[in-house]
Amino acid sequence: MPQREFDITIGKDGNVELHVKGYKGKGCLEAIKMFQQIVGEIQSEQRTSEFYEPEEVVRFNIEQRH
């Protein structure tokens, strides 16, 4: 049973930093899309070394639209 986990930091200005765990391939992209719908456009993306392992870990910064 896979574990899905999000580490979310909401900055004092409302920008969101997201750490995604437990999504593979398209599943990860869908998870990111879901966050875009909730809080806004992606400002930057950083794939950690774990991204290329079977279980993905990806960091995203999501910025509110001005």
Partner: protein, 152 residues
């Protein structure tokens, strides 16, 4: 005191109330008939009008004739939606210069956006079956959440 009517625009006003109370403000009034008293205050005091950065995420929640005012230490901050649909705020306060008023407005408007995003994320995460397993407010006033779900 003017009755507080939150049901008409719940998400935005909830964010305003949460952010304002966390910074020591009190809700002064919320209604469509706030205009007259707000204008009277503005004429007698320093005043600054600002847009809320990043407000597009929440403008749909705010009707054009709806306002909410919060006060602290003689400063009144009134939130409304401008003609272009962007949320804005008016900061008034006697004995405060424009820079002070601007700083207070920016501090509160950022906190409102943060609270709005927090509430929206919590609602959406719970709706998708995630449980909040960690939640803390850091010294820099950022909010950290860890949510988890086990899939079949």
């Amino acid at each position: 005191m003017t009755p507080v009517v939150i049901a008409a625009w719940p998400a935005f006003s909830a964010a305003v109330v949460a952010a304002a109370t966390s910074l020591g403000y009190q809700v002064a009034a919320e209604a469509t008939n706030l205009k007259k008293s707000a204008i009277a205050t503005q004429n007698a005091a320093g005043k600054i009008q600002m847009e809320i950065e990043n407000s597009e995420v929440m403008t749909n929640q705010l009707g054009r004739d709806q306002r909410i005012a919060v006060t602290k230490g003689g400063v009144t901050i009134t939130f409304s939606r401008d003609a272009r649909g962007k949320a804005s705020l008016c900061v008034t306060g006697e004995g405060h210069d424009k820079e002070e008023l601007k700083a207070l407005g920016q501090e509160l408007s950022q906190a409102v956006v943060q609270q709005y995003v927090y509430q929206k994320l919590m609602d959406e995460m719970r709706a998708r079956g995630f449980n909040v397993i960690e939640e803390e407010t850091n010294a820099d006033r950022s909010i950290h959440l860890k949510v988890r779900r086990w899939d079949n």
